[in-house]
Amino acid sequence: MQNIEMLRWQLNSLVTQVRQDIYTLSTVPQQPIAPQILQRLWDTTSTIHFISELLANQALHCYQPIPVNSRMIPVNNSPSNSTQISPITPIPNQSNSQLNGRNFTIGELATFDGKNGRPAYVAVNSTVYDVTNNRAWAAATHFGLLAGKEYSQEFATCHAGQQSILATLPVVGRLVS
C-alpha cells in the first residue's frame, strides 16, 4: 500500500510538471527551447502512462507487486542457471566488459539465436554484435535474416555507407575460424 501511495505522489508531481511545461510553451511559443520542452513532455507523459498501467495492473491482480523503476529486469539471475547470460535491456552505454574479449566460432555463434530466452548475436566483418533488444531485430529476426549468423555480405548490400548502425550496437566479441 505504501508503494501505491508513492506512485500516486509520483503521478501527481508528473502531472504538475506537464501543466508547467504546457504553460511555458504557451507563453514562449517560438523559443529555441521548445523542442526540449516537447521532448520532456513526451517523456513525462510516457512515464505517466506507464505508472497508470502499473497501477491498473496491480489493481487487477490484487496488488501483486511489480518492481517499480526497475531500469533493468534480470531475466535469469538464479544461481542454478548461471550459464545463461541475461538479455541486455535497451539501455545505451551498457558495459559488456566481461564479454568484450570473447571469441566465437561460427558454431558457437549459432547458439545465440535469440530463442528460448537466449541472447541474439550477429557477426559483421568478424565482430560479434548484440541485437537482442535492438528495435529493428524483433523476435531475433530482421528483414528475413535470423540471429546467430554471419552477415558481412548482407550488411554491405543492405546498409552500404551506414557504418553508424554498427557503431551503436554493443560489441560482445570476435568471430574466429
Binding site: E53, T89, G114, N116, G117, A136, A139, G144
Partner: protein
C-alpha cells in the same frame, strides 16, 4: 470563409486530414475546384484495398466516387462488363485522368498471368493496361502493398513474377500508398489533397508524409514498456510486443493515432504485434509474424 482554428490547433493526423477533406468538399461545392477523372485499375491482387475503402469516413467512399471525382473505370464497381467495360477504359485515355492502381503487375509470359479483360477479341493484360494508362495519367497512385512493391503477389516463390508499379513505369512519379490493405484515409486523404492542393509532400520513397512520416514504435502507447525492457510473452499481455516479433519499430504509419475500422482500434491495441504490412518487402521481409520461442525458456528443448 473558412472557420478559424482556435489555439491550440489540433495537430493530430486525424484532425489534419479531416480539415483537408472538409475543405476539399467545400471548395468543390463552391466550384473552386473541378472534379477530375479517376481510373481505378485492379491488377494482380485480392481487391482488398477497394474493400478497405468502403470503411472510409469523412469523406466516405460513396461521396468520394460520386462527388469528388468522375469515376471512369473500376471493374469492381462499374455496371458495364466485358468489352463494353474495356471500351470505357479506352475512352478514358482520351481525357485527363488520375490513375489509381491496386495489385501488382505480373510480368511472366508477357503479362499473361493477369488478364483484366478483352479488347477487340484479344486478351488485355494488366501489364499492357498499366503501361498504356500510366504513360498518360496526370498523377499515379500505387494503392496497397502489391502495387507499391509487389507485396503478397510477389511473395516467394512469386510464380507470376509480380512486381510493383515503379518497375514497369520507371520514369513516372508514383505516389506510394503501401499497406495491406491501405487505410481508407490514406487513399481518400491523398486523393483529396491532389484535388485541392496538388501532390502532397512525400518522403524519399514517395510516401505522403502526412500519413507515413513516423515510426509506429515512436508513437506506440506501449513504448514505455519497451524502454524498460518489459516484454509480452503471449498475445493477451498488455506490455511491449517486441519479443513476439512486433514490426512497429521498422514501420512508418499513423496507425497508433488513426486506428482502423472507423478509427476504433488497431493491432497493438488489441494485443497482437504489428506485422509491418506497410513496410516495403512485406510479407517476406516481415516474417515471421509471430514467435513464441524467444521469451519462453524450456529445459531440454
Amino acid at each position: 470563409m473558412t472557420m478559424p482554428i482556435l489555439p491550440p490547433e489540433d495537430l493530430s493526423n486525424k484532425a489534419i486530414s479531416a480539415r483537408i477533406t472538409t475543405n476539399a468538399i467545400k471548395s468543390i461545392k463552391n466550384g473552386l475546384i473541378k472534379k477530375k477523372n479517376l481510373v481505378y485499375l485492379e491488377l494482380n491482387g485480392c481487391s482488398g484495398n477497394i474493400i478497405s475503402l468502403l470503411n472510409g469516413q469523412n469523406p466516405d467512399f460513396e461521396y468520394t466516387f460520386k462527388s469528388m471525382v468522375d469515376i471512369q473505370y473500376s471493374n469492381s464497381l462499374m455496371v458495364a462488363e466485358g468489352e463494353k467495360a474495356i471500351e470505357k477504359l479506352m475512352k478514358a485515355l482520351e481525357g485527363e485522368y488520375i490513375l489509381a492502381v491496386e495489385g501488382a503487375v505480373a510480368l511472366k509470359n508477357n503479362g499473361l498471368y493477369n488478364i483484366i479483360g478483352s479488347w477487340k477479341g484479344k486478351p488485355l493484360t494488366g501489364l499492357e493496361a498499366v503501361k498504356m494508362l500510366g504513360e498518360k495519367a496526370s498523377h499515379i497512385l500505387a494503392v496497397g502493398a502489391c502495387a507499391t512493391h509487389g507485396g503478397v503477389s510477389a511473395a516467394k516463390p512469386n510464380p507470376s513474377e509480380s512486381v510493383g508499379l515503379n518497375k514497369v513505369l520507371p520514369h513516372k512519379k508514383i505516389i506510394m500508398l503501401p499497406g495491406c490493405p491501405v487505410h481508407p484515409d490514406w487513399f481518400l486523404g491523398t486523393l483529396a489533397h491532389l484535388l485541392l492542393y496538388g501532390e502532397p509532400e512525400t518522403d524519399s520513397l514517395n510516401r505522403p508524409l502526412m500519413f507515413y512520416s513516423t515510426l509506429i514504435h515512436d508513437r506506440c502507447p506501449r513504448r514505455p514498456f519497451f524502454d524498460r525492457g518489459i516484454f509480452a510473452e503471449k498475445l493477451s499481455d498488455k506490455t511491449c510486443l517486441f519479443k513476439l516479433g512486433c514490426r512497429g519499430p521498422v514501420t512508418r504509419t499513423d496507425c497508433p493515432t488513426r486506428q482502423w475500422n472507423g478509427h476504433v482500434n488497431w493491432p497493438i491495441g488489441d494485443d497482437t504485434p504489428c506485422i509491418g504490412c506497410a513496410q516495403f518487402g512485406f510479407p517476406d521481409a516481415m516474417a515471421p509474424f509471430i514467435s513464441f520461442d524467444t521469451t519462453r525458456v524450456v529445459k531440454n528443448e
